[in-house]
């Protein structure tokens, strides 16, 4: 069966696909006239932010949805006419991996082998191969629910591969898992391609993963923006990307200035420099933008897929959709003081015999942006809930603004703002109603309350959609509204739990820009994220793995730990991988 992907045609061919959904009385166009093909024997990436239409496309290809218009063919079969044949042929891993959490690793494999009709004789060899590849051989008796996120992901993949499929479709297989597991997944995928000639269609919201694909299909808002190899996609921005360094300016201030300069499409903090994408091949005019920076330098930089994507998005966005351009200036002098506002000592949290958080200690100073970086399940959110007084610790001490929020009065609580994962808004209330509710929840009434609501509507450019129901907003708007709600009472400390999960790169940039401004005004910010590159926006960060902090420091310090002669300029992800591997070796030795 391994040769089923003979090069007699595309592994998947989509022609003028349209798909609409009705949700809560609203019509959503999930896909708009999308046509592309997936070549056999290579990895094709389906790239776009949440809500782009990736999952809809995957489900159309798997025969789980029917297109409103257009046609989709998989391995020469029309999916609409022969769904069962298609489903019996491909390997498919849905989001969240489709595992039975109350079944063991072995029982999950057995189930899918039964369903896929793998003959009992062939099983033992196939299991050995898959378990070895996924690194799950020692854990066959463990319940799938008790595996780490990375192990679940690999078990899900093993189940999709239990009968060697000619086409493998993976829906966001790498979301939220740690970078080591992500790399391992990519290794397995490429082994399939090389050894068995498998065709792979893989969707992801991580733009850096586009670089690992042989071909990329870019989706945004139901539209196909582009298709090609990562190289051809990067071509439009070639020669337009630069790296700006200014040793005497804080990175965030430098980025904010450059982002607002003429001719600049995108400015992004990356390591010790700011990466800039220009409208054409003239580098930014540093004299005009940064008159006070004496040591500013600009150098050409190689283009990345993300640059091209942002370029494409900017071209589509109407200028009035982005909030106010006369942004508050990020001050050149950092607003940090030496006053410690968050202090955590030996914090622990047990759930039964399982330590979600163990021996966690750190201190955050006023006006600092402090990040907790880690995969899903590393203990970031648990730490946050303890800090906000939502969950009692099992051990250790913590002080936020000089108090333990679990026992402190309303006054101390009023000093913090909290934005939870997935933006806890009232979906059936309008934007203005949400703002009104949160302002009254914080005790802002009368003239002051009205002022804050006006401020939020203006500051976050929410006025045009003030009467829209918030459930129907795009993820970027939800994120904006959610941050506005958390800021209603002008808190001195802001907790942000996975604030940028799934939003498109433009919304993400805008968000970090705002965070930079808040920090500049002296607000202390604590943020969790599983995006490695976002760590660069933090003044300091701690890397969490399995409930423990592996290391803590400035982004530059942490990356320096992974520096080797072979890797003179490690990325944050390289550093993370290095740290985990060193940690695992230590654990093995112990």
């Amino acid at each position: 069966m391994a040769d089923a992907s003979s090069p007699r045609g595309a592994a998947l061919q989509a022609t003028s696909l349209c798909k609409r959904f009705r949700a809560g009385g609203r019509e959503v166009q999930a896909l708009r006239d999308v046509s592309f093909s997936v070549k056999p024997g290579i990895v094709t990436g389906l790239i776009g932010p949440d809500g782009a239409g990736k999952t809809t496309l995957m489900r159309l290809a798997a025969g789980l949805l029917m297109p409103d218009q257009g046609r989709i063919e998989v391995l020469g079969m029309d999916v609409a006419r022969q769904p069962l044949q298609v489903q019996g042929t491909i390997g498919y891993m849905p989001q969240r991996f489709g595992l039975y959490e109350d079944l063991t690793v072995q029982e999950n494999l057995d189930l899918y082998a039964d369903l896929q009709g793998v003959s009992p004789a062939a099983r033992s060899d196939r299991y050995d191969e898959l378990l070895h590849m996924a690194g799950l051989a020692p854990f066959t008796d463990r319940l799938a629910g008790k595996l780490s996120g990375g192990m679940k992901q690999k078990l899900g993949l093993a189940c999709a591969l239990v009968r060697q499929p000619p086409l493998l479709m993976l829906d966001e297989p790498t979301v939220g898992v740690d970078p080591v597991s992500r790399r391992e997944l990519w290794d397995i995928v490429y082994r399939m391609v090389e050894q068995h000639g498998t065709s792979v269609l893989l969707s992801t919201a991580y733009l850096d993963e586009a670089e690992r694909c042989s071909e990329v299909v870019v989706l945004h808002d139901g539209d196909l923006l582009d298709q090609g190899t990562p190289d051809t996609l990067r071509e439009p921005v070639r020669g337009r990307t630069f790296a700006v360094t200014a040793a005497d300016l804080p990175k965030r201030a430098l980025q904010a200035r450059l982002a607002r300069a003429d001719g600049v499409i995108d400015a992004l903090v990356q390591g010790d420099h700011v990466r800039v994408v220009m409208e054409d091949d003239t580098p930014p005019d540093l004299e005009a933008v940064l008159p006070e920076a004496k040591q500013a330098r600009v150098e050409p930089a190689p283009p990345r897929f993300e640059d091209a994507f942002v370029d494409l998005l900017k071209a589509r966005t109407q200028p009035d959709e982005t909030p106010r351009s006369d942004a508050a200036e990020v001050p050149l002098e950092p607003a940090q003081s030496d006053h410690v506002v968050i202090e955590v000592q030996d914090l622990q949290r047990r759930f039964g015999s399982f330590y979600a958080v163990r021996n966690v200690s750190f201190a955050v100073k006023e006006g600092e942006v402090f990040g907790l970086l880690g995969a899903n399940g590393a203990g970031k959110s648990t730490t946050f809930r303890m800090l906000c007084g939502l969950l009692p610790p099992s051990g250790g001490t913590l002080r936020v603004a000089g108090a333990d929020l679990r026992t402190a009065g309303a006054e101390a609580r009023a000093r913090i703002g909290y934005m939870s994962q997935k933006f806890s808004l009232y979906g059936n209330l309008s934007v203005a109603e949400n703002l009104r509710f949160f302002s009254s929840a914080y005790g802002l009434f009368g003239r002051h309350g009205a002022q804050r609501i006006d401020w939020a509507l203006e500051e976050f450019a929410l006025a045009p959609i003030a009467n829209s129901v918030s459930a129907g907003l795009s993820l970027g708007y939800k994120q904006r509204l959610s941050l506005a709600c958390a800021l209603m009472h002008e808190p001195g400390i802001l907790f942000l739990d996975e604030p940028t999960s799934g939003v498109d790169p433009l919304a993400r940039r805008e968000f970090w820009q705002r965070i930079g401004e808040l920090a500049g005004q002296g607000v202390t910010i604590m943020v969790t994220t599983h995006f490695m590159e976002e760590a660069e926006y933090c003044d300091r960060l701690a890397i969490m793995v399995a409930g423990e902090i592996l290391t803590e420091g400035t982004p530059a310090d942490i990356k320096a730990q992974a520096q080797t002669p072979e890797m003179p300029e490690p990325t944050m992800e390289d550093a993370f991988v290095e740290l985990i591997q060193a940690h695992d070796k230590e654990a093995e030795a112990a």
Partner: protein, 386 residues
């Protein structure tokens, strides 16, 4: 299906079907064993319900506290009140005057007052006389009616006895002799416990099945199942069979408890009971699966199952409330309540025997409903996510 799939070995085939079904069933049993809530609904809930209804709930009038007010004691009043003393239905207490008795009724200490008036003797001799007065607390209409019936019965019996003893002929126009059939002790447990089996089977068949199906949607495992060579009928069968077996287990438990713990007579044959139960269980599973084609999260599935299957099985099946005395519209609705037919069969098989004229039409109705529910499920369940 005009084109041959490129990889014939992967196509759904007859041989693979049994392997797939076996795999699905093994998975389902492992899940049932590891999930405390399935075990709770299948075995713990029947146990609790049976104990509650078997011991706790009784619709019989027994030891009802009544007040006896005798205004002018005599030999006749003494002999009449004595007939209350020995009764298992009443717990009489004496009051000297009506006011005290009324106060006791207000305070809830007695449920009825029997007043023998001053002119008891005179009224007794007079044609059309009304020697006794009965005042009943009508708040609980059911108990009130029972008390009235019992007191009338006690009065009639006493009159006859008195007449016979004194050698007079008692010329009542009609002499009423009661004989209660099927449940001669008028033990409410004897019809509540069989009826309860219908409720338990509904819980396992409809509620549990709708919930576990919704769980598969909620956790995203259904999406993974659908992209396998499984046909939709196999998905349905893979749920139906395990929960059928679980439901029959619940039935065995309930029937054993009914017979051995609560000593409900089983006058019909066991095989009729089990065949009829299997039929009802398939109907209930059909309802559960039909609900799951609409409700894809556990909360909604649970709510729909409770409102459309569990509550009707309780209220509209004739298990507690007699269908004949319901308003006509509600009576019409009970015709689509499968539990109604099953309760009729259960009560017949337990208390009367294999009465085919009752069992066959009711079983026929169950067959029709099972076919309708499963047919609708088959039609509505698509291998799709929309």
């Amino acid at each position: 299906m005009s084109e041959a799939p490129p990889t014939p070995a992967a196509a759904p085939s007859g041989g693979g079907a049994s392997m797939r079904l076996r795999g699905l069933m093994r998975k389902e049993f492992l899940q049932i064993m590891r999930d405390p809530s399935s075990i709770a609904i299948a075995f713990l809930m029947p146990l609790v319900l049976l104990l509650l209804f078997g011991y706790g709930v009784s619709l019989d009038a027994k030891n009802i506290p009544i007040a006896l007010v005798v205004e002018q004691p005599s030999a006749d009043t003494a002999s009449f009140t004595a007939s209350f003393q020995g009764s298992r239905y009443f717990r009489p207490s004496r009051y000297n005057d009506l006011q005290q008795a009324e106060a006791a009724m207000m305070a809830g200490r007695v449920d009825a007052i029997v007043v023998l008036r001053q002119d008891f003797e005179r009224q007794l001799q007079q044609a059309g006389g009304t020697p006794i007065q009965l005042i009943v607390n009508g708040v609980d209409a059911n108990t009130a009616r029972i008390v009235m019936g019992y007191v009338e019965g006690a009065w009639g019996t006493w009159l006859q006895q008195t007449a016979r003893l004194s050698g007079q002929s008692f010329d009542a126009p009609v002499s009423l002799t009661q004989r209660v059939w099927f449940n001669s002790e008028l033990e409410s447990r004897n019809y509540l416990v069989p009826g309860l089996i219908a409720v338990i089977m509904t819980l396992i068949g409809a509620l549990l099945t709708a919930m576990v199906m919704a769980r598969e949607w909620e956790r995203g495992t259904m999406e993974a199942l659908l992209v396998t060579p499984l046909a939709m009928r196999e998905v349905i069968l893979g749920k139906l069979l395990p929960y059928f077996i679980l439901g029959m287990g619940g039935l065995a438990l309930s029937v054993s408890m009914a017979i051995w713990l609560f000593e409900v007579p089983l006058r019909g044959s066991l095989w009729v009971l089990f065949v009829a139960s299997a039929l009802f269980l398939i109907t209930a599973l059909g309802m559960g699966l039909l609900i799951s084609t609409v409700a894809k999260n556990q909360f909604v599935a649970g709510q729909i199952a409770i409102i459309t299957t569990f509550l009707p099985a309780f209220l509209l099946s004739g298990f507690i409330f007699d269908i004949g005395s319901m308003p006509v519209v509600v009576q019409a609705i009970t015709h689509i309540v499968a539990a109604r037919y099953y309760v009729a069969i259960l009560q017949t098989v337990f208390l009367a025997g294999d009465v085919w004229s009752v069992i066959l039409p009711n079983a026929g109705a169950l067959v029709v409903l099972a076919a309708v529910f499963l047919g609708l499920t088959r039609r509505n369940a698509r291998k799709r996510l929309e």
